[in-house]
């Protein structure tokens, strides 16, 4: 069902954990849908992401996208991190099954939520960053028989 890269990131997730006194922290998703993602960012004075950690409650794809997304933003500037889209995360994982695409949306949202938290704390604006939605939900597809 999953690509080798997804399985690798699921089996050996990178950057699991917490950061104390993080520069920014964001939690997205909801338990009702079965996916919650939390990202911690440690950002230095030059707006470079020095460290990133995540915690995820969710399926294999949710864990793998969290892991991949943290790898993709680590060492990057805040502006560069904004370019880590769900599409980019998905491509880096060699794709996801169609029903799991919403998991990759969650990873992007979680990073944005953590960046938003950082921006709020430091009273700065990050270009292109909007206030995160508190919830991620997708229209459920109704199948007709």
């Amino acid at each position: 069902m999953y690509s080798e890269k997804v399985m690798d990131h699921f089996e050996h997730p990178r950057n699991v954990g917490e950061i104390e006194n993080a520069s920014g922290m964001g939690t997205v998703g909801n338990a009702k849908c079965g996916d919650i993602m939390r990202i911690y960012l440690d950002i230095d004075e030059n707006q470079i992401i020095q460290d990133v950690k995540f915690k995820t409650f969710g399926c294999g794809a949710a864990v793998a996208t969290s892991s991949m997304a943290t790898e993709m933003v680590k060492g990057k500037s805040v502006q560069e991190a904004m370019k880590v889209t769900n599409k980019a995360v998905m491509e880096a994982l060699d794709g996801l099954p169609p029903v799991k695409v919403h998991c990759s949306l969650l990873a992007e949202e979680a990073i944005h939520a953590a960046l938003w938290d950082y921006a709020q704390k430091n009273h700065i604006a990050i270009e292109g960053l909007e206030k995160p939605k508190s919830d991620i939900s997708e229209e459920e597809e109704e199948e007709e028989y």
């Binding site: 997730p13 338990a31 849908c33 079965g34 995820t56 409650f57 969710g58 294999g60 939900s137 459920e140």
Partner: protein, 396 residues
């Protein structure tokens, strides 16, 4: 899976290993006795007799008459046939059907389909153990109720419903009673007269028989029409050349299942309880879903708080263990199992469910290994769960 890796199969509610004795019984009906049972020559008579013999075994196994067993392609077809045909047959009398919230989708989606055709369906609640509430059933009965369809045992949480009482209530009110016994048949004793069952669905592959063959029991006097139109097979009620090898295999599987039921159930229940107790003792924040005693002997269903079921399944698979979950991610929708929601579990706990269904081939050593693997994996997933982090830090 590579051959050197040991596999522990704990998904017998999904399907079972076809018994080699069953396969052996089936084999001649592919290449040797391939005749069509409907043909006139002597050669095809062998196939015809094989079908008759199997039908007799199956009828006897539930206390039915031979002519009351109709072969189908499996449990889903049987459910569809029973409900749609009853709706059609009794539609003049009324358009109200009673079922439960925890039925298999073969029943639920059929009922939903009928709702679009103008039928009204009452979906009965169950209690926190998964038992249909009998007083609600009595209250739900109306003059225009034409069918009660309640499963014998649930496929997810293994609960055995009070079928005898349901049958009695149905009979007292003169309403035909269908039961989906796909999970129960061959695992617990069933007698259609004792339980007042008018129609019953069963499937071979849940009892070490082949896939693609099932039956619908229809009590004499329940006049419902053919589901598949065509030839005169199955007393003109289900057209299509008989799946002779499948039917033979079903008969053999039923024969073995009936003979071994008592000893097998005892063994499975003992192993099941051992596993259940061990997991409950080793893993905190865990619950068992479904009634503890009124349940199928081989069914275990856990909910582990703070983790999600699909992740657990994948990690169990890496450890060579096959199980299933009621998490949304395993169903392809965003909602977790309708059964777990019906017994009152919050969504996040329903997402963290694990169903393990044993067979008599499992051993105590395997249960030890499985319990230890579950303990290790749940701990690992909790350590990366933001829900667990919040719980530890803030107690919520």
């Amino acid at each position: 899976m590579s051959e050197d890796k040991k596999m522990i199969y704990l998904d017998n509610a999904a399907t079972t290993r076809t018994d080699p004795q069953v396969v052996e019984a089936m084999l001649p009906y592919f290449t040797e006795y391939y005749g069509n049972p409907s043909s006139v020559y002597e050669f095809s008579g062998i196939s015809k007799k094989a079908v008759t013999d199997a039908r007799e075994i199956l009828a006897q196994s539930i206390g039915a008459k031979t002519q009351e067993i109709y072969f189908t392609a499996g449990g889903s077809e049987s459910d569809n046939w029973a409900i749609k045909a009853a709706a059609e047959a009794f539609g003049k009398k009324g358009k109200h059907i009673i079922t439960s919230k925890i039925e298999h989708h073969a029943v639920l989606h059929t009922c939903e389909h009928l709702e679009k055709q103008g039928y009204e369906v009452t979906y009965l609640d169950v209690d926190e153990d998964g038992m249909v509430k009998l007083d609600e059933l009595k209250k739900a009965i109306r003059p225009d109720t034409i069918l009660i369809s309640i499963m014998f045992a649930n496929n997810e949480i293994g609960v055995i419903e009070p079928v005898k009482e349901i049958g009695r209530i149905a009979r007292e009110n003169g309403i035909p009673f269908h039961t989906d016994a796909v999970q129960a048949y061959g695992h617990v004793p069933i007698n259609v007269d004792e339980y007042n069952i008018d129609m019953m669905s069963a499937s071979a592959h849940k009892i070490n028989g082949p896939k693609g063959i099932g039956f619908l029991y229809i009590r004499t006097g329940i006049k419902i029409r053919s589901f598949v139109h065509g030839g005169a097979q199955e007393r003109k009620r289900r057209a299509g050349t008989e799946n002779v090898p499948g039917i033979v295999g079903f008969g053999k599987a039923a024969e073995i299942a009936m003979a071994s039921m008592e000893e097998r159930s005892r063994r499975e229940a003992e192993l099941r309880d051992y596993l259940m107790e061990k997991v409950l003792a080793q893993v905190p924040y865990t619950r068992v879903n479904g009634h503890r005693t009124c349940r199928l002997p081989n069914n275990c269903n856990f909910s582990f708080q703070f983790i999600e079921g699909e992740s657990l399944l994948i990690m169990l698979d890496m450890a060579g263990i096959c199980g299933s979950s009621g998490s949304a991610c395993t169903s392809g929708s965003l909602d977790p199992s309708h059964v777990l929601l019906a017994i009152g579990l919050p969504h996040e706990i329903a997402h963290g469910s694990l169903r393990l269904t044993l067979s008599q081939e499992n051993t105590r050593e395997e249960m030890d290994y499985v319990a230890d693997q579950i303990t290790r994996i749940v701990e690992r997933l909790r350590n990366m769960s933001p829900l667990y982090e919040d719980f530890i830090k803030h107690g919520k």
